[in-house]
Subunit: 461 residues, 2 copies
């Protein structure tokens, strides 16, 4: 098909929308390492995980073999409310950069949660409802995940308790109000509601919080309340599975127009967006059918892939959760509060960590002022005001397009535009005022809390 026929935005028809999630683990030769019980150092059993997560989600978490999983009809119906997400040809950005590269982005921001998080929120809420639970607990950072979960719970009439990282709670009061519109309760973390919150506050009285802290609190509440389970918006295998809808749709849209991607780029905090976007393409690579260059982009202030260690570590700051083998900065690592760009998690999806360790993808870290400059450049030509998180991917997509300008290569670049920045205007204001600074941790800042990790064969640090 000739290039002229490629529209600005590719929308799949409803009957072209994927009806299955793709589980990349099925095609991985080296499977992601299992979660370990921190007491026994043995892989977490389904029964142990079932105290924290819904039964069906435990099954998905542990399933390394089934490649395609049917999406339940109720979830498909919900998806139809805000999906398909458009795959946009960035004609205006290409023109502005004067690059021979062809740039596409998968835009996940056209829903009230403002991001891709809704894809997994509805799945997790659905399985909780199906199990007859009263409600779910979770943590949220910038607030996208909490908003997404509150939307999903409201739709299914489930109770929803959100622990929100304190600095975001204070900086983003509007997010709270959106969650309230959807009926959720929102508590700043660390809080005095939980034992782990009290402990963290005693040790770090002025802390602005972190995702790791908030996870500890939400897990504690879920496991001590009748009829509740914990749900998580990133990191876990199950989340990558649900988020594979992003990649499945992207692939269907590219295939529809006979386009082949050369480079696929995504921002990486815990890995939900990146993992979801690249999954079906990585599957092709793993099966030897096609080759792609995958690039994970993370903040220089929270550089899990590029400066972390690949080791078993706690998923949370409070060290109440299982151990996951992943690239980690240490469960005690809390990024500087002046870092506005999201992606504040100390660890990384075990699945993506294994793929990275196996040399199947690359990673880059970028500084936040450069990220906001790329965000503004993008906004002015493409019209969409991007979330700081998504703008990490924009930055590297622009870098790669400019490389093509130098070399004359007509590469096809696809990146994930995970969401909108409407609730991040304080960060944009700091960027405009010139008060935004970059923060790069020293080596001494990294891996706090590593002393507490159990030593055992196979945990190399």
């Amino acid at each position: 098909m000739s290039e002229k026929t490629i529209p600005y935005k590719i929308y799949l028809e409803e009957n072209e929308m994927p009806t299955q999630w793709y589980n990349v683990r099925a095609d991985m030769k080296n499977k992601p390492a299992p979660l370990l019980n921190p007491g026994t150092l043995q892989p977490m059993t389904a029964e142990e995980l079932g105290a924290v997560f819904c039964d069906e989600l435990v099954k998905q978490e542990l399933d390394n073999d089934t490649a395609y999983i049917d999406i339940p009809q109720e979830i498909l119906n919900f998806y139809k409310m805000y999906r398909p997400a458009p795959l946009v040809r960035a004609y205006c950005l290409e023109k502005k950069l004067d690059t021979p590269a062809k740039i596409y982005y998968k835009f996940e921001g056209n829903n009230t949660s403002g991001s891709h998080k809704l894809n997994s929120a509805i799945a997790q809420a659905y399985y909780a409802k199906k199990q007859g639970l009263k409600g779910v607990t979770t943590e949220t950072g910038a607030g996208q995940w909490g908003t997404a979960l509150s939307m999903a719970c409201s739709y299914l009439d489930l109770d929803c308790k959100v622990y929100m990282v304190k600095c975001s709670y204070e900086q983003k009061p509007f997010r709270r109000e959106v969650m309230r519109t959807y009926g959720a309760s929102v508590t700043p973390s660390p809080s005095m509601d939980t034992e782990v919150g009290k402990k963290i506050l005693a040790e770090h009285p002025g802390t602005s919080g972190s995702l790791g802290c908030a996870i500890s609190e939400a897990v504690e509440v879920a496991t001590t309340s009748e009829g509740y389970r914990y749900v998580l918006g990133s990191v876990l295998n199950q989340v990558l599975l649900h988020q594979s809808i992003i990649g499945m749709e992207t692939k269907a849209a590219l295939d529809k127009y006979g386009i082949t991607a050369d480079i696929i780029i995504g921002c990486a905090g815990g890995g939900s967006n990146l993992g979801g976007l690249i999954s079906p393409f990585m599957g092709e690579k793993l099966r030897g059918e096609k080759d792609y260059q995958f690039i994970a982009v993370e903040p220089a202030s929270c550089p899990s892939f590029t400066r972390g260690k690949f080791a078993y570590d706690f998923c949370d700051t409070g060290m109440v959760c299982p151990l996951a083998k992943m690239y980690t900065l240490g469960s005690g690592f809390i990024p500087s509060a002046n870092h506005a760009g999201g992606l504040r998690y100390h660890g990384m999806s075990s699945t993506l960590s294994q793929l990275y360790a196996d040399g199947l993808m690359e990673a880059r870290s970028v500084e936040q002022t450069a990220v906001f400059a790329a965000a503004e450049q993008f906004a002015r030509v493409e019209g969409i005001l991007p979330a700081p998180e998504s703008s990490h991917a924009i930055k590297v997509a622009i870098d790669e397009a400019l490389k093509c300008k130098e070399t004359g290569e007509e590469k096809t670049i696809v990146f994930g535009l995970t969401g909108t920045g409407y609730f991040d205007m304080y960060a944009y204001e700091a960027f405009h005022d010139g008060t935004m600074t970059d923060y790069i941790p020293t080596d001494a800042d990294l891996q706090p809390g590593f002393d507490a990790i159990p030593r055992f064969p196979g945990n190399m640090m």
Copy 2:
């Protein structure tokens, strides 16, 4: 086509998108009354209007005869960045209401301005650029129009000066920052920058401003600055013309699936959305081809149609602009500051006013607490957090759907969902906290400033 094949969202393909605007005036037997020069009481000439507006826009303003006007290719390209807007079948809302009615909404919020305003902003900025101007001035209320114009100006590299109604400037600081991201200057109105601003502040020192005040200031700056013209986001004929893209797309989407609307509902402040949505359908009604029930929904606190007078009045509070014949509450009318729901303009599009006077459409006024209740009900089932303005239409769409439930009629209801409420969270907070109150002006509050309107034959008051 059987109902089962109607998807949740109808997206036109790029090659199905309209390439012409439709000018409803061409099919009106009674044309809207012309703007009058307040000094001579004679219709404003093209030359006189050219001091305020770009030449091409003056032509469009005065053209009561040409039914279809080609959209310039550059504007079509910009439209492709964020259009087509989806026509959504509100399956979830229908189910929640348990109504036999079929509800559709045209959703214009999937762009960073958060509303339909971008449709006219790009057109007006394009003609200003084509005329070789340096920049444009405008007013903005809730901020959607200012954001839209700053996006369009940034794209075309035009300077953009925005006068923002003071209460919105203070209540919605994030909107300012979005406009700043797109390079616009934003001044709270009334300001001390202009003669008219100084005069209004002297008379009403504590005023929270109004659209009428802000228009006066923007017009003064445009007419006293070299290379600038004024642009307006609503009320004018030219704006309704550009906004007809909403109705043209809606009609194309309905036609594609063989759907015929019975009732078409839109919120009405100055008339930009309502006029744009209904134009092509009204054309069919005017030509006797089809019949529709049209309903304009306005706030009870600013009830131009339902309690205004159909008379010539000033378009602005400062009485520097031409006179328009319209339903008006008086150019000195300033809605209560506790009214959070937008649509604060004292007048109404002359075109819509004439159609209303001729009995071709209905109008209803609704109170804001009922509007926010409808907004929240909608958000919880349809996922989208609606703007307060748009929620006026939601309220009446729900009312009509519930009537169908009583009567058993399977009416097809189409309404305009003009935008998202992400920057209106203070209003939602007040609604949740129970501090939001309703405000209905007394008869004595209406028509202030009428004494200053020139008396002449044909201006019945």
